[in-house]
Symmetry: C2
Subunit: 235 residues, 2 copies
């Protein structure tokens, strides 16, 4: 059995789980709290980052969402023309230029969106509280700044979803999964102003109703229950 | 002619320049100061990030080092067995597992190393000074913390270079170029304690003496001259 070391609300871990589920690759999930810097975990991934995918029989584990997603994409890129509908979709579809556009967006969400929204929110609302010497309540001004960032990103998602069938183009790609992974973590915390972004909401609803999304929606973190609509497909 | 929009000390721009030079792809360099957030630049790359590669005749530009390096790697992966020595080397050599290891290290330098060292140093010592309302002298305690981070990363580079011919394995890869790009920016600022890390120094000297490195070593930023040994191949 393959093993994925993850943390339930970590957006990179979620992106890996979504990709694996879409590709019908079953994995055993092992939870890690990366802020604990456990020596045993650092021995596996010296960067101390999640997720880590140990493929059955592989000598070394795949560390980080970049290595994992590209590894999976290399296997999920069938060149055949007549694939049936149930076949795993290519994580990076299209020609070289189209793949570059998909990668630009993956980078947008795993880089920029993470720095400006997900990482900050998780740090403030979840990670700080789960530490032994928990900090106080989240800082109001800081949260307001993150929410402003989030609205800017929601506008960009709406802009893309209004012009294309999926974020990276006409085909579903890992850009959608990465974006949805980040949004799902933020949505768990009840921070996504869906009512203001109808087009982005329709795009997200299409992803949310996919079978691959189910385990993500079943996640619960002790001490941080999800927003009421979190697992609701008709939110 | 292809065009690369870059900033001279930006490590991602440097990594792209090194890869292009190694692949013998000539580009015209156009300098951009990303902190100015020029509307014309944001119209090209809404993320406001460098580098941006406009391939001649291509409809849309390649934005960010992830999209650019993977785009170039797709073309630089000759499957033929009998390539002659002058042929461009594959940016991501080896089999799937080896490529995953190379990508893990690219992620290490463009993610972790950048956050903990390059970005912070450039912000403190270069970008802040080039802004219209320049901040004062760099904060001593902050610089000390960055230097501690750097020593940790230098140890890791030494560890890898001691066990492998190149950082990602037996073959030169984009992991070496990304690492060298970051180190070259830090070295420009005179911050690399080479005397403490002899193995890392030997690895870097091998890269520094490659033809592709020449333009990087010729860079000069107004108001921030390089360390005396910066362009010296026998440093």
């Amino acid at each position: 059995m393959h093993t994925l070391t993850h943390f339930r609300l970590c957006p990179f871990s979620r992106a890996a789980r979504l990709a694996l589920a879409e590709l019908n690759i079953e994995v055993e999930l092992v939870e890690e709290r990366p802020w604990e810097w456990r020596p045993e975990f650092l021995a596996v991934n010296p960067a101390g980052e999640l997720p880590v995918l140990q493929m059955e029989g592989a000598e070394i584990p795949l560390c980080g969402i970049y290595a994992i997603s590209e590894f999976l994409a290399e296997d999920s890129a069938p060149v055949q023309e007549d694939g049936d509908a149930d076949e795993p979709f290519p994580l990076l579809p299209g020609d070289r230029a189209q793949r570059a556009e998909v990668r630009r967006l993956i980078d947008w969400f795993n880089g920029k969106f993470n720095r400006e929204v997900t990482h900050e929110l998780l740090q403030e609302k979840v990670y700080n509280r789960l530490q032994p010497h928990a900090a106080g309540t989240p800082d109001v001004d800081f949260l307001r700044a993150i929410r402003t960032n989030l609205r800017y990103h929601m506008s960009y998602i709406s802009y893309l979803a209004d012009r294309r069938r999926w974020l990276g183009g006409e085909e579903l790609s890992f850009a959608d999964l990465a974006a949805a992974a980040h949004l799902s973590s933020v949505d768990y915390l009840g921070e996504v102003p869906w009512e203001e972004f109808a087009v982005a909401k329709v795009w997200y609803a299409r992803l949310k109703s996919r079978r691959a999304f189910r385990t993500i929606l079943a996640d619960r973190v002790p001490g941080a229950l999800p927003a009421a609509h979190y697992a609701d497909l008709d939110f």
